[in-house]
Amino acid sequence: MGKEGGCGQNKTMVKQEQELANRPDNTAFTQQRLPAWQPMLSAGIVIPGFVIIGLAFIGIGVALFITSKNIQVMEMDYTGFEPDSDCFKCSNPEEKNCVCQLDFNISSRFEGPVFFYYGLSNYFQNYRRYGVSKDDAQLSGDLDNFKSPSDTCSPYDTDGIKPIVPCGSIANSMFNDTFLLYREVNGTNELVPLDGKGIAWWTDYNVKYRNPNVTPLKEAFEGTVKPLFWPRPAYELDTSDPNNNGFINQDFLVWMRRAALPDFRKLYRRIAQGDYARGLPAGNYSLKIAYNYPVLSFQGRKKVVFSNVSWMGGRNDFLGIAYLVIGSMCVFMSIVMLIVYAKFKFPEED
């Protein structure tokens, strides 16, 4: 068939090109003859491919694993759920302005820079209705939205009369425990300086969240009320530093960035100043906690975490292990296939 077509074509092409108006174009594309690569899953490709991938993965895995192992992490639960724990007394919701203290010991130097996190468990910041409950325009300093917050904030948009600023459930539920870290130096507790700057995303601090362009800031909040759970209005979050006040308060920013999973930690401070720039020296420490945030009602847990970081972030053995496992599986499969191929010859060889 094909042959027939071929010879006919040549002949007529010359003679009657114009007459054959309906002749299809003879291009590789229209005739579906584009040069193509047909990857065949043949032994020659599959086995070496698997081995190479496997070995590469194992290599990466080892590197990751070692990196991860070098990261130091220290976690302390201070929920006060157990009666014998230090913060048990504070876990009672009736207790106001309760302060508890957590003592701990660092046996060897905690390499710096040390990141100081607080962590919450069983806390659903990713709850859908919770996540929606904010007003981005308001948070970017739009004064109109101060007066009439977005519907998305409902029911935390007004207290019935006045608008709530910042509105919404996220802001309302802002974590408000505070920590002070002391190091026992020669019997006295020396306050470890905690750096609260730059713990939030740079873009959040500089671009996304804006205070209204009103000075003093307080005037902008005229006619509004603070969120129900808040002890202080937004413009008093950090009165000492106007650049850390209002909506661009770093703690607020960190909180507003909702955690992906119900067990999460959030960066509280960095320990990177003065003597502690190289880390926390070995010794006894005590952590003074202003225990304000109730979590026991929903079986939540609170913790503090000290961790240093590597290039790949915090400590996480998983990725290294995953690479190792997948890499070895690749190698294993290539061996299996090798055996299979050896037993059943593949057709091409016939």
Partner: protein, 1538 residues
């Protein structure tokens, strides 16, 4: 006049409106026809205003769209909304607008073409200006008078009122309407016929009552009511249809009857149909399953959420959000809300873009199919047309092919091959050789130098290979039109005349017959000269004369001259209309004439025509015969036509130049054949046919009536007044089955009876040879008879109600008691590549059924020729007479088991089919048919064809494809899942009804095997991929629900969620779905077995859907949990965590697609990299665009930060590998360990071309074998067409022998039927001595009821009781020693010269008991050497090689003296003949005829007819095969005559 009109209008208003009344538009007041549609056409669907609502309304007919809109609207409900409502609308709006834009564009194109058409000009009569003025088409209104000029296109349906043509004709070209290229004649309405002066519209005062607009092109009825009160009937012959072109007529005037959308052309114009492919149906099931999965997921999550809310009890956690009213949501309410929310979130599972993507891919596939050069036919400069855009993949899943025969398998180029006249056969060997040459030239095309001038083909005089002549002169005319180099020119040459390829036109006359014609002409000339009545001619010569007259006259061929193809040749000498009224009749047939020719054996002669003062022919119309004769002679002299001699006297130049335009190719073939014998049709007018005869010159037949062909009567007749005898003669031409029934009972004369028997015999022979047979008969009417008939005929003609029926009855009354003249055999050659195509389609596992209207023998032989039936097969023939006999009494018998005999072919005829299609039997019929390898339904009506297709499609639940070319295939094409039309010579109706239109049958191979396979495999893979992709993506969100309190939140940003399908992952799969080739086109064609993967839906099986779903869930688990653990216990926020997951999912999906992509072109690479970069670009832009928008996600700068995170890259490397490892491993192992055939094919593709060719050749050989349709290395995973079990069974059944076959239930029950003749006892024939035939007294045959012998003529089959084979001793059939039949007693042959082609009745071979043959020495058959048969394998028939004939000594036929037949004893021939009437009775008295089992003395030399004349094909085949002693396998043919 106006007053009358008004009055009449008033009157007609009261009438119920069943008809349309058209009045003249006076121009002074309201147009009386204003309520009829005007001529403006508007094919657009929309207007500017209605576009949006109407288009949306249409789009919402698709359920999916409604669903997506519902979901989008759900988003506007605050309590359940999941996304930004506007955003959620985006995909739906996008999908809807894509479709809307497509629709709009299409509509715009329609609008433009409408405008163009509406603004064409035509001449409309303006009453105000009293002249014709130019108007746009759209301004034409019903009732307007229109003047048409030559070559103008008709703007509306117009009633022809006046024509410049002296015959008051208007010629129309209807190619745009029905594709027929010949001219149609239309006549002026009768009352305007005699109008001498120019038609004046002002004087027209009639009111036209006619039918309401309808779409029947071939029907128009009505009448004109004149002011005088007289009525004038209107016919379809008076109506000029919109869209046709006026030809040959300078000017015509008509009144518009139907305009615009009410014209028949517009009413016939249906748009493309919407079909849903099997794959889509399957897909919809899975879409449904997706919905179920979706609901389950939502339900699960809703319950989970309810519990989650419930666990907190009254203590609301700080993160809980109260309802807007501040109230707490109860867990149940929260769950219900959540359920709805999740439906929105998970909506992606139902792939919104799937439908659009499929449509896009299909359009691309259609484009590629359309572009394929291999499907382009140079001859006609046409390519494949895809008329249905949405069933391309069905082409890859077809299981049953139903094919028409004529024009589909064959070329529909009718070539006159042979004829029998007055019981004598003229084999036209030279003609056969000539045809063989065409074949040869065609096949050796390359050697032929470019063709030069045209050579007139002379008759057989030059015996020395005309091939040499051909080569040296290499004339164009000698080359088949099929040959490509010439094709164009030939088609240009014949553009104006259909059916006029040289092959069809040039008929080499049989010398013997030519002699006789000459002799006859001479004698007539002599007699005329001596004043003897022409009827005194010897009856055989008279028959010959009549035969050619009939060929020439009995048709509707229009004569034109080649210089101006459209200029009809005028031979009119006197103008007169056909007899239309009784008065006219009386006037024209004076009493004296009525008495003159009362008897049919008439004494009427030329002399009697003396009394005629108005002859029908101008030549004979002069007062006396003498002067007529003188005139004749003058004319003859003037023409200079010497007495024609058969050996090549050039025809008169004029004669040679005429062109014939026929409505059907058969007609043209017959006219050309007659012309070869110097009986040329030189002119045809409505009332007169002019014929030029040898010696006699031009004769004009007065054409009294033409009773056109219809498929019910299967015949046509003309009533003429014979110019020589002046008798009223009816010439009838039609299917042999019907004509034979109408022949005068044989008791009228021994000669006639003998003639009938002989002719029947030859007919069978022709049919056996695959020729189309037509019988020619005549009848002489006495004037009284005619008058009597005419009276009722005229009544019928003028009847308004039921005119068709009355005319039909009238025709039936006339066509009785015919006198048989002869029969013709016309060959319809197979198209190129048909056997190969069928073979390869069959290898591809397609069941091929041929449904044809042809007679059984013809069909069977064509089936053999095109390898549909295999000589190795056993043929099961079902010919039943009644309902009961089809019905096997043993209804409970598990006959289906009995039928799984190895390779069975089923042949069933129309009548039996009617029974078989009965409700009670259809299951049985199907059970039988299913187990047969091929099925051949003969004599089936269009309705039966479609019923069969419908039955198979519905009952067997298979994919059917119907292919055909003619109007009779339309219903079948429409019923089948895939309808394919052949854009051949038979008009466009099949094409219009089809989904795909092919130029040639053989293109079906590539269309199905390659494009069908590709389309199917591409779409199947794409759909599966779609499901996978969406499930995988949605599952990610689902897993997240476990970590967000089942609250319906998503870590994937809503933008990604919504646009993932539409943008990020859409292109690569579209490209793959469009371009991917699982196996190369070459391999697919060389290994048709690969097609089975589509038939068995192997690319898309339900389990694959579920496997894909499972894989999707697995992959999503990997893509979810690797990031989950990688980010566990970190300070990651929702979307910083979700974005990598999205990225990973995208990468995984793309790599997955990469694994599934079989061929990588730059387009694939481009699309994948485009997709990835699009994702990153979009997300980078999106994440940088607006810091405070896109609540709730606010993904500001997320992607930017991620890109700085090494963890992100580590995940991107790890996750896709981990996710795809199992699939990749599976693919790798499967491709090596248990590859599917398709994979093997792909591996073959990779091999170097030579190796591949070798393997394929190897495979091809094996593929041909029955048991293993797959080369051994393919067989591993390849199911046989019927599945492995059956395959196995088959192999086992390979050796089943005849006895087992005989237990077939049908045959079994047949045995219970009345005694039947066939089981002739072995000794039965013995009494017949070897020399038995010729001395046998004539009476010998008479007692034998005709129809006895198996030479079953068409009608014969039914009466033959079934079981007729079974009692036959097994040894009789099947172990029959080779040469069993051939050995014919020498004495048997001797009386007849060898090479005499007289048909040997086939039945005669087979039923003959062995004992019968034994006395004959085996070697005696030298006239028909065994080798003669053997070289003719089934496929051999059609391109019958010249060699087949050549070995025959040249003198074989020609030297045969004219009187060859006569010396033969009369009884000799009769035996095999049988009249059809006789057949009817034959069954009953069959027993008596056993003795006669006549074998006509060896006509064995008939080289090209190795088939026995009776055309009992299957039996013949059997005989032939038995020559191949190599194949001992059971080969009885089971004549289950039910």
């Amino acid at each position: 006049m106006r007053i009358t009109e008004r009055r009449q209008r008033g009157r007609s208003k009261k009438k119920p409106k069943e008809t349309r009344t058209v009045r003249v538009h006076t121009g002074h007041e309201h147009n009386p026809n204003r309520h009829y549609a005007n001529n403006r056409i508007k094919t657009t669907k929309y207007t500017v205003l209605s576009f949006l609502p109407k288009n949306l309304f249409e789009q919402f007919h698709r359920f999916a769209n409604v669903y997506f809109v519902f979901i989008a609207l759900l988003n506007f409900v605050p309590v359940v909304n999941a996304f930004q409502p506007e955003l959620a609308l985006a995909p739906v709006v996008f999908i809807l607008s894509v479709t809307a834009i497509k629709d709009l564009w299409e509509d715009y194109r329609r609008h433009r073409s409408d405008t163009e058409i509406n603004h064409m000009d035509c001449l409309v009569y303006s009453r105000a200006e009293r002249r014709y003025v130019e108007r746009f088409w759209k301004e034409v209104q019903v009732g307007d008078f229109i003047r048409l000029r030559c070559n103008e296109i008709l703007p509306a349906d117009v009633l022809l009122l006046s024509s410049s043509d002296p015959d008051r004709l208007c010629h129309l070209e209807t190619a745009t309407l029905d594709g027929e290229t010949n001219l149609k004649q239309r006549q002026v309405v009768r009352s305007f016929f005699d109008l001498d002066c120019e038609f004046d519209p002002l004087k027209f005062n009639g009111i036209i009552e006619c039918e309401k607009p309808n779409n029947d092109l071939n029907r128009f009825r009505g009448y004109i009511l004149h002011r005088s009160g007289s009525r004038d009937a209107l016919y379809k012959d008076n109506l000029l249809l919109r869209g046709c072109t006026v030809r040959n007529t300078e000017e015509a005037v008509g009144i518009v009857i139907y305009a615009g959308h009410e014209t028949k052309a517009m009413l016939n114009n249906n748009g493309p149909r919407y079909k849903r492919s099997k794959l889509e149906r399957q897909m919809n099931v899975h879409v449904f399953w997706c919905v179920v999965i979706l609901l389950l997921m939502c339900l699960f999550a809703a319950i989970g959420h309810g519990l989650w809310v419930f666990q907190y009890g009254d203590k609301r956690p700080v993160f809980d959000v109260l309802s807007p009213e501040g109230a707490e949501l109860s867990p149940v309410v929260a769950a219900v809300y959540l359920f709805l929310t999740l439906i929105i979130v998970f909506q992606v599972l139902i792939p919104i873009s799937l439908f659009v993507s499929i449509e896009i891919v299909k359009v691309c596939q259609v484009f590629f199919i359309h572009q394929d050069q291999d499907l382009y036919d140079e001859d006609s400069d046409s390519r494949l047309q895809c008329r249905a855009l949405n069933i391309t993949e069905d082409l890859g899943q077809t299981q049953y092919v139903f094919s028409d025969k004529t024009g589909t398998l064959t070329e529909n180029k009718m070539v006159f091959r042979r004829c029998t006249v007055a019981g004598v056969e003229y084999s036209h060997d030279a003609n056969a050789r000539r045809l063989a040459l065409y074949q040869e030239v065609d096949s050796e095309e390359e050697e032929v130098p470019p063709p030069g001038g045209s050579l007139r083909r002379d008759s057989s005089s030059s015996q020395q290979s005309s091939r040499v002549v051909l080569r040296s002169l290499s004339t164009k005319t000698h080359r088949r039109t099929g040959s490509r180099a010439d094709a164009k020119r030939a088609s240009i040459l014949s553009k104006h005349t259909a059916f006029s390829s040289p092959m069809e036109k040039d008929v080499t006359p049989d010398p013997q017959l030519l002699d006789k014609v000459n002799e006859c002409g001479g004698q007539m000339d002599f007699m005329r000269f001596h004043g003897q009545p022409v009827s005194q001619l010897p009856s055989d010569l008279a028959d010959i004369m009549d035969f050619f007259m009939a060929l020439t006259v009995c048709n509707t061929v229009v004569v034109s001259s080649p210089n101006q193809p459209r200029q009809k040749v005028r031979m009119r000498l006197e103008s007169k209309s056909p007899v239309k009224t009784i008065e006219d009749f009386i006037k024209r047939f004076t009493p004296s004439r009525l008495t003159s020719g009362s008897s049919s054996s008439s004494s009427s002669s030329l002399a009697t025509s003396r009394s005629s003062n108005r002859g029908c022919s101008g030549l004979l119309s002069s007062p006396s015969a003498e002067s007529t004769l003188a005139k004749l002679q003058e004319e003859q002299a003037a023409l200079g036509s010497a007495p024609p001699r058969y050996d090549g006297t050039p025809r008169s130049p004029e004669d040679g130049e005429l062109r014939y335009e026929a409505e059907s190719p058969d007609e043209a073939a017959l006219v050309y054949a007659a012309r070869a014998y110097k009986c040329s049709l030189v002119g045809r007018l409505p009332d007169q046919v002019t014929v030029e005869l040898p010696h006699l010159g031009k004769l004009s037949f007065e054409l009294l009536h033409t009773l056109g062909f219809d498929s019910t009567r299967k015949r046509m007749s003309v009533v003429v007044r014979h110019p020589l005898t002046d008798q009223i003669t009816v010439y009838t031409k039609g299917a042999d089955s019907v004509i034979m029934d109408l022949i005068k009972p044989p008791d009228t004369g021994r000669r006639q009876k003998k003639l009938v028997l002989r002719t029947q015999n030859y007919l069978n022979l022709y049919a056996a040879d695959g020729l189309r047979t037509l019988c020619i008969a005549k009848k002489v009417l006495s004037k009284e008879q005619y008058a009597c008939w005419l009276q009722r005929h005229l009544e019928a003609e003028t009847a308004i109600q039921g005119r068709e029926e009355l005319l039909f009855d009238s025709a039936l009354r006339l066509e009785t008691n015919l006198q048989l003249l002869g029969a013709t055999g016309i060959e319809d050659r197979l198209q190129d590549g048909v056997p190969e195509t069928i073979a390869s389609l069959r290898q591809a596992g397609l069941q091929i059924w041929v449904l044809t209207g042809d007679k059984q023998e013809t069909a069977v032989n064509v089936a053999y020729a095109c390898k549909l039936l295999d000589p190795e097969e056993e043929i099961l023939t079902l010919n039943a007479d009644s309902h009961v006999s089809v019905y096997p009494p043993s209804s409970s018998s598990p006959h289906s088991a009995a039928f799984t005999v190895h390779r069975l072919g089923l042949v069933i005829d129309g009548r039996t089919l009617a029974y078989a299609l009965d409700q009670s039997l259809e299951d049985r019929f199907l059970a039988v048919a299913r187990s047969c390898r091929s099925v051949l339904c003969c004599r089936s009506t269009p309705l039966q064809k479609s019923t069969v297709v419908k039955l198979v499609r519905n009952k067997l639940k298979v994919m059917t494809l119907a292919i055909g070319d003619g109007a009779n295939d339309v219903s079948m094409i429409q019923v089948a899942d895939v309808g394919v039309g052949i854009s051949g010579q038979e008009g466009m109706q099949a094409v219009m009804a089809s989904d795909f239109a092919l130029p040639r049958f053989r293109y079906l191979q590539k269309l199905l095997l390659v494009h069908g396979h590709w389309s199917y495999s591409r779409l199947a893979n794409m759909i599966l991929f779609f499901f996978y992709k969406n499930a995988m993506f949605v599952a990610l969100v689902f897993w997240y629900q476990f970590y967000c309190g089942f609250s319906g939140s998503a870590m994937i940003d809503q933008w990604y969620l919504i646009f993932f399908n539409l943008m990020f992952s859409a292109f690569p799969q579209l490209v793959t779905g469009t371009l991917d080739k699982d196996v190369s086109a070459e391999t697919l064609q060389q290994l048709p077995q690969l097609y089975m993967s589509g038939q068995n839906s192997e690319e898309y099986k339900p389990y694959m859907f579920w496997m894909n779903m499972i894989d999707a869930f697995y992959q999503s688990l990997v893509c979810f949990f690797i990031p989950y653990f990688a980010y566990a216990d970190s300070d990651v926020d929702v979307f910083t965590w979700g974005t990598p997951i999205t990225t990973l999912a995208l990468l995984t999906i793309l790599v997955h697609l990469g694994i599934e992509t079989r061929t990588w072109t730059w387009m694939n690479c481009l699309s994948i990299s485009f997709s990835v970069s699009l994702f990153f670009t979009v997300s980078l832009c999106y994440n940088a665009s607006c810091p405070s928008c896109f609540s709730p996600s606010n993904p500001y700068w997320s992607m930017q930060r991620l890109l700085q995170d090494p963890l992100f890259y580590l995940l991107c490397v790890l996750t896709p590998v981990a996710a795809l490892l199992p699939r990749y491993f599976y693919r790798a192992c499967q491709g090596t360990l248990f590859p599917s055939p398709v994979q093997v094919g792909r591996q073959l593709d990779k091999l170097p071309s030579e190796t591949r060719r070798n393997i394929l050749n190897l495979g091809g050989v094996e593929a041909g074998s029955a048991v293993r349709p797959v080369p051994h290395f393919l067989s591993l995973g390849t199911p046989s067409p019927e599945g492995p079990d059956e395959n196995h069974q088959r192999a086992g059944l390979h050796a089943v022998d005849a006895t087992e076959k005989d237990t077939l239930p049908y045959t079994k029950d047949a045995a219970k039927l009345p005694p039947e003749p066939r089981p002739r006892p072995p000794g039965d024939a013995e009494p017949r001595p070897p020399g038995d035939d010729e001395p046998r007294p004539p009476g010998d045959d008479e007692p034998r009821p005709p129809g006895d012998d198996e030479p079953r003529p068409p009608g014969d089959d039914e009466p033959r009781p079934p079981g007729d084979d079974e009692p036959r001793p097994p040894g009789d059939d099947e172990p029959r020693p080779p040469g069993d039949d051939e050995p014919r007693p020498p004495g048997d042959d001797e009386p007849r010269p060898p090479g005499d082609d007289e048909p040997r009745p086939p039945g005669d071979d087979e039923p003959r008991p062995p004992g019968d043959d034994e006395p004959w020495p085996p070697g005696d058959d030298e006239p028909r050497p065994p080798g003669d048969d053997e070289p003719r394998p089934p496929g051999d028939d059609e391109p019958r090689p010249p060699g087949d004939d050549e070995p025959r000594p040249p003198g074989d036929d020609e030297p045969r003296p004219p009187g060859d037949d006569e010396p033969r004893p009369p009884g000799d021939d009769e035996r095999p003949h049988e009249t059809s009437e006789a057949l009817k009775t034959s069954a009953m008295s069959a027993s008596s005829r056993a003795a006669s089992s006549p074998r006509p003395p060896s006509q064995a030399a008939s080289v090209q007819l190795p088939l026995p004349p009776d055309g009992d094909a299957q039996r013949v085949r059997y005989c032939r095969n038995s020559d191949h002693a190599v194949r001992p396998a059971a080969r009885t043919q089971t004549d289950a005559v039910l």
